[in-house]
Symmetry: C2
Subunit: 428 residues, 2 copies
């Protein structure tokens, strides 16, 4: 990775260093996805079966996976894997249970009670990508908060053939139905429903450019479904001082780089020697990885930034707003109050990103691509919605009318005023 | 309004009765808005000045309203209005202060600390529509939670000429900058910034079809800005039993109907006599309204639904998912546990919708058009974002590695495993 000295750059160059690679969102993809969405809306299950043959090279006898097949998935799995999933599940449950919101009830003035209530979203759809390796961790991160929130129906779709790790984890987490559908067609099926697929109110989960585009399209249609958050390539920013272990720093950078050639990896360090040492470790460790080709491509557009001090390091991090922020400094927690834009923060030398990816208890579904400025780490609240309640006494209404009536008059809305004054006998 | 008997309808007819009028989202509007957005991005303030002359018939000397002009706005306003705004502001502050979230910190297992932190969104832009009457209540509902959340910079845009009620309320609520810009051009200016307009990370507020389309467009561009929620025409559903006062029910239906010809108004009642009595009251009260032409148009596509009992009334309401739900029954609070989809609920005969529109303390920015299934009433949390933090001890990492390593292996991600095992001395 290239090394730059922050203070030697002008502000335009600084922004350039922190710019993200352009995401492929060609009109080609939009058109292909629009066609797939139409096909699924018109033909339902038949479209899913046809598209599985075409894109997944799979002959489906049914879109929905039978409970028998789901339960049989456990057989081929090791005890070690099952215990790992159980441990991760327990931690994720503890942290997401703690996020369950408390209702609010108070009087803003005598006789005027205001409340905030929460209700689970009724039907949610979870998407779990396929590809070179199964992602049981994605099942954990989506299904556990859905169940804790209290969603009535939780369904999951993943491209066929679905790995036993996915089926096992889905069953363990109480997913109600599993569908063998991938890509844009899975998103369309859950957004609109088919003969076999239950319509979801909101769709969650990562995916490739087609999945992302399909989520955008169905969320823009009020007959479709809401979605969790905009998606972008995964990324990490590591803040390291001169005391950090360069082998640990390099290992963290590589664990992000191996995700994909478009992963972005940034080191911000107070020490030019540290940047050099990390670069040497990257070269050494890269050779040991089975996905070293992917990681190497990601590193080719990544940068080490040398800053004056840790305050400047946090400024750079806030400007970038990383999905994952790893802080490997002597007093890592001291930087926390200044952190504004990040998806998930990993403090100290014993906290690699992969603990959050799988098992610490935090959610690994995070805003990326700069969306940390406005979007939140996925949590139990994303599977719920808030609504307010108010209840006034007769005297409360009388007292509040002194505020309501003049504002209604200023806004020229007679009936707004009259709904109050008629009740109080002041107008007929 | 027409009256239907719910049990006499088949399920298709039931859905038809609850269907919302189609929203005009023609490609014409999308094209016009795209042109305006481009013009503002390219020409900045000049575009805003040109478009104010074209659409608002106003010659602007500057886009930003001077502090002097803002402070002068108070002079023409009545004490009654100012006291009303002060009372509303105090109530809204109490309820939105109570929504400030508490961070979470716990150990999911020994040595594995997980935390949820909250940070304010840095820069927010508020849009306040112009039109026939000024809307100071919209200023209250957007600026107060922004300030309570702790946003660094709060800016507001409204079409010129801006009414003194808006300027006064904006100043009272601590808005930092006010711009004389309306429509799609105001949204574009706040999303991308101009010489005079400060770029916002997230844009809030209601508007017409052009504003709504502009919000959609800028929120789809990662260089643009996030938005509060999708918009649709305003709507109310009133549940009334046979004991409800038909004059009160009619007043509430009219206070929604006067918003616009596309407002939707639904009465759900257990009593056919009640439906008839409300219809008579509607006719009587309609004649007294200055906006009776608008209200009459809204009522022409509205319906009274007669149901078997209150349980069925709540089912109908949940199916519709109204923005505003008014419950005028003897034991209104008893229905609350069954309510799933609603933006804001008004309990009992002394709680008209207009108290929530202005002054009870709840926010009047609510999901509509069926979005109550997945979206929340606007609150302090919408001006903040959550991020997670984790911090492990060396022993915590060792204990957690039993979960992380098998899952990383199942997912085929070597570097994810190695970030753990290298720290523990188990791999080099």
């Amino acid at each position: 990775m290239q090394t730059v000295i922050w203070k030697q750059l002008n502000s335009e160059q600084q922004l350039q260093v922190l710019s993200r690679p352009a995401v492929n969102s060609s009109t080609d993809i939009a058109g292909i996805v629009a066609d797939v969405v139409s096909q699924v809306r018109e033909q339902g299950d038949k479209a899913l079966i046809d598209l599985a043959a075409k894109f997944d090279n799979t002959e489906l006898s049914a879109v929905r996976i039978s409970q028998q097949e789901i339960e049989a998935a456990e057989q081929g799995l090791s005890e070690e894997f099952k215990q790992a999933v159980a441990q991760a599940k327990a931690n994720i449950e503890v942290f997401h249970q703690a996020q369950k919101p408390q209702p609010i009830s108070l009087e803003t003035q005598p006789g005027v009670r205001c409340e905030m209530h929460y209700a689970a979203i009724g039907n949610v759809g979870l998407y779990v990508p396929g590809g070179t390796a199964p992602l049981p961790s994605t099942v954990l991160m989506l299904a556990i908060p859905a169940r804790i929130a209290g969603c009535k129906k939780v369904v999951l779709s993943s491209p066929p053939p679905i790995a036993p790790e996915i089926l096992y984890t889905a069953n363990l987490c109480g997913v109600d139905e599993v569908y063998a559908a991938g890509g844009a067609q899975a998103i369309a099926a859950m957004a609109y429903g088919t003969e076999s697929v239950s319509k979801a109110d909101k769709i969650f989960g990562p995916g490739n450019a087609f999945v992302t585009q399909a989520k955008q399209q169905v969320s823009g249609d009020h007959a479709g479904a809401a979605i969790d958050m905009p998606a972008g390539p995964s990324e990490v920013l590591v803040i390291a001082d001169d005391k950090a272990n360069p082998a640990f720093v390099a290992a963290d950078l590589l664990s992000q780089a191996e995700h994909g050639p478009d992963s972005q990896v940034i080191l911000v360090t107070t020490s030019e020697q540290q940047a050099e040492a990390v670069n040497q470790e990257l070269a050494r460790q890269l050779a040991l990885l089975s996905r070293n080709n992917i990681a190497d491509q990601a590193l080719s557009h990544s940068t080490a930034i040398v800053v004056n001090d840790l305050a400047q390091a946090v400024q750079v991090s806030n400007l970038y707003g990383p999905e994952h922020l790893i802080v490997q400094t002597e007093q890592a927690r001291d930087l926390l109050p200044e952190i504004e834009n990040a998806g998930s923060v990993f403090l100290g030398e014993w906290t690699p990103e992969s603990v959050g990816d799988y098992a610490s208890g935090t959610n690994h579904t995070l805003p990326t691509y700069g969306y940390t400025r406005t979007y939140s780490s996925l949590g139990t609240l994303d599977f719920m919605k808030r609504f307010t309640v108010q209840e006034l006494s007769q005297q409360g209404l009388k007292d509040l009318s002194r505020a309501v009536v003049p504002i209604a008059n200023a806004e020229g809305l007679d009936a707004h005023r009259r709904a109050v004054t008629l009740r109080l006998g002041e107008e007929q």
